[in-house]
């Protein structure tokens, strides 16, 4: 059951090849899902293992699209959390749209004032690993690279077009706390509201 090696191929290596969609690993226990070696792609097109830089720190993938209005509205929240946990956890934006160019992503990062790492995930290896379905959703791994939370950032949106004036739960923040301190329980997984990643296959 263990996913021994999930490889995110280069953007141009397998353009739209009919790779059979692997079954989503919704049912697996998190421990069996521990990534030993994962390769994503940086904005220069270079393969990178996002866990290498973390050196034992928790890793947070935040899945976004340049054209998803809800993930865009989360930019200030994402930036605030990345500042709050700077040095303590590695937070990275993950762009799962294989049609997106790195130039457009760089423009997006600049427009929204992001100062955190950004990765491309054209083959959805990180999507599968993090068991996410929506932008914006997040996947939080503890220092042992165990997936301890996946799902929404908070409960700001209840449905499309139904946003609270401010969120009243803060799942991502709680999950990072749990990743940093094993005495802190991880929140239950709750789906986000936004754009379906499966539309990008």
């Amino acid at each position: 059951m263990a996913a021994a090696m999930l490889v995110v191929t280069l953007l141009h290596a397998a353009p739209g090849l009919g790779v059979p969609a692997p079954a989503f690993m919704r049912a697996g226990a998190s421990a069996s899902n521990t990534p030993k070696s994962v390769v994503a792609q940086d904005l220069a097109g270079k393969a990178v293992n996002p866990f290498d830089a973390a050196t034992g720190k928790p890793v947070v993938f935040i899945f976004v699209r340049t054209d998803c209005p809800i993930s865009n509205r989360y930019a200030p929240t994402i930036k605030a959390l990345s500042q709050k946990y700077a040095g303590a956890a590695e937070m990275m934006l993950v762009y799962p749209d294989k049609a997106e160019t790195s130039a457009n992503i760089k423009k997006h990062l600049q427009e929204y004032g992001y100062k955190i790492a950004a990765l491309q995930d054209p083959q959805h290896a990180l999507v599968k690993l993090g068991r996410v379905e929506i932008t914006p959703e997040v996947a939080v791994f503890n220092g042992k690279r165990e997936l301890i939370y996946h799902g929404r950032i908070d409960n700001w949106y209840k449905e499309f077009g139904q946003a609270r004036s401010a969120p009243t739960t803060h799942e991502l923040d709680d999950a990072i706390q749990a990743a940093l301190n094993s005495n802190h329980p991880a929140p239950a997984s709750v789906s986000g509201v936004g754009c379906y990643i499966s539309d990008l296959r």
Partner: protein, 612 residues
Amino acid sequence: MSRLGLNSPRIIGVGRCAVLAASFWSVNSWGLGPDAPTAKVTFNRDIAPIVYHYCAACHRPGEAGPFPLLTYQDVKSHGRQIMAVTHTRFMPPWPPEPGTLKYADERRLSDQQIATIKAWVDQGMLEGKASDLPPRPKFVEGWQLGQPDLILKAEKPYTLPASGGDQYWNFILPVPINETKWVRAVEIRPGDKRLVHHANMLVDRNQSARHMEKDPGSGFGGMEVRIESEVFDPDSHFLFWKPGTVATSEPDGMALRLDKGTDLVLNAHLQPSGKPEAIQPSVGLYFTDKPATVHPMLLEMQNDGALDIPAGAKDFVVTDEFKLPIDVDLMGIYPHAHYLGKDILATAELPDGTTKTLIHIKRWDLNWQAVYRYAEPVSLPKGTTITMRYSYDNSEDNTANPNHPPARVQGGNRSTDEMAHLWLQVLPKSASPDAGDPRMVLQEAWARHEVEKAPSIFEAHYNLAEMLQRRGALDEAIVQFQAAASIRPNDPVANNALGGALLAQGDVEGAVQRFQSSIAAQPDYFDAHYNLGNALASQENFQGAAEQFGDAVRLNPEDASAQANLGTALAQLGRLTEAKSHYEAALRIDPSNQLARENLLQLEQMLRENPH
């Protein structure tokens, strides 16, 4: 089975999915003919016509939609999202329930269209045959009605912050015209359309909103704007923009009047995008040389006074009822509540006992408030009772509730207050050619209704008094002005108006006192100085009158009547040379001022007979 479960959008319960899928197949087999069960739904044949008609007007570059929906790839890359948002009817935004009265430009998907979209996504979003693809819709670029005759642009942009809740910003757009113009169409370009949820424009004939600006041209915040008017000049047109609005020309004879010195105030509802954005709206005006011959009127029903919603209340109801004193044609309707609004209903019960639903919104969403115009005017005869019935949800169940935990909310103008308003654009019909302006009959009935509903509200008494005075019912007008002034004893406008009514009735003493109170409350109030001057002159106190007219002229040197009256007061005091210069000033401003001309001739005669 497990794949099916995974592919279902999580926003829709599995049980409901199953029901919807079942209804799709039955609909499809009726809709697509005998070979339907084998035909797969394709983008080119089945989806493109829906998307082109209902989505593309906003979902294209430069418009309100956050991403374009013009090609197969565009639509496919948001396919399940489209399925989810059409299923909940969040998109395309069309909140009113379908009813017997039709609105212009209805943008509402049928159940069958929604089922077709779901089937397309479930079947794997097939593209289909290229020959099935209809031509792309053509849209007019730039100004929709051609180059406007006059373009107004907000002087300074407003910078919308990256985060936070909804913002409301008011831009003041002075209209640089030197003479009265008739406007056949107004096109509102609210700035970046992705950020503006809706915009409402008000005609401010007295530049009354300007004083809210900290710096001239910078605009000011606030969800509701109050436009003050001291004369009977009711609002007549909805000037409203929402995503997808296409500017249209009013029919001949329904033009909007704009005078020199008028401001347009654009109230824009903005939603932060995640990054700071500059918003700088512009407005295009299209003139006509055909003045208005028919005069619509915006009738405002409301019951803010009854809004005192306890924390946790799920179904708090307020109502207002108004019986039409004359026949009207209803042209459009604009319901308005804030974040707690839940179920919005307006009905008309006709004298024959039949009832028409004017609008019913079962899931009110402030973000998608809009003006709705009827496809055909709705004829409502005299004696029709219009009822608004709004319910409010102040519980945790209401996602939009601004208070967490819920708190008591009362009526008011701030976005955290609540409102219960319903504007109706009506075309009042005259009972007979000599019955006068039917708008006044309607306005007086409305004002009387307001006084009965809310006897402690200043504006109710003031507005009724104004209507009574205009038709010469002076005694009753004085009673209402007195009621207004007793609610706000220091209100300069009410005291001045009451003074004016007393003066007209011959109570000079009483009038003088009221004008003095008005000036004490607002020393730079031109009208009160002018009126006090007249009252003192009628008591032959020309010294006092000259002082008051002098103050009036200092406040507004361009007022011909004040200049002429100052001339007369000075002449009475024997200060003929000074008097002459003020008569001359009056005639320079207004060469047709008969009084100034006659008095000047007489004065010149006196100067010749009695030179110094």
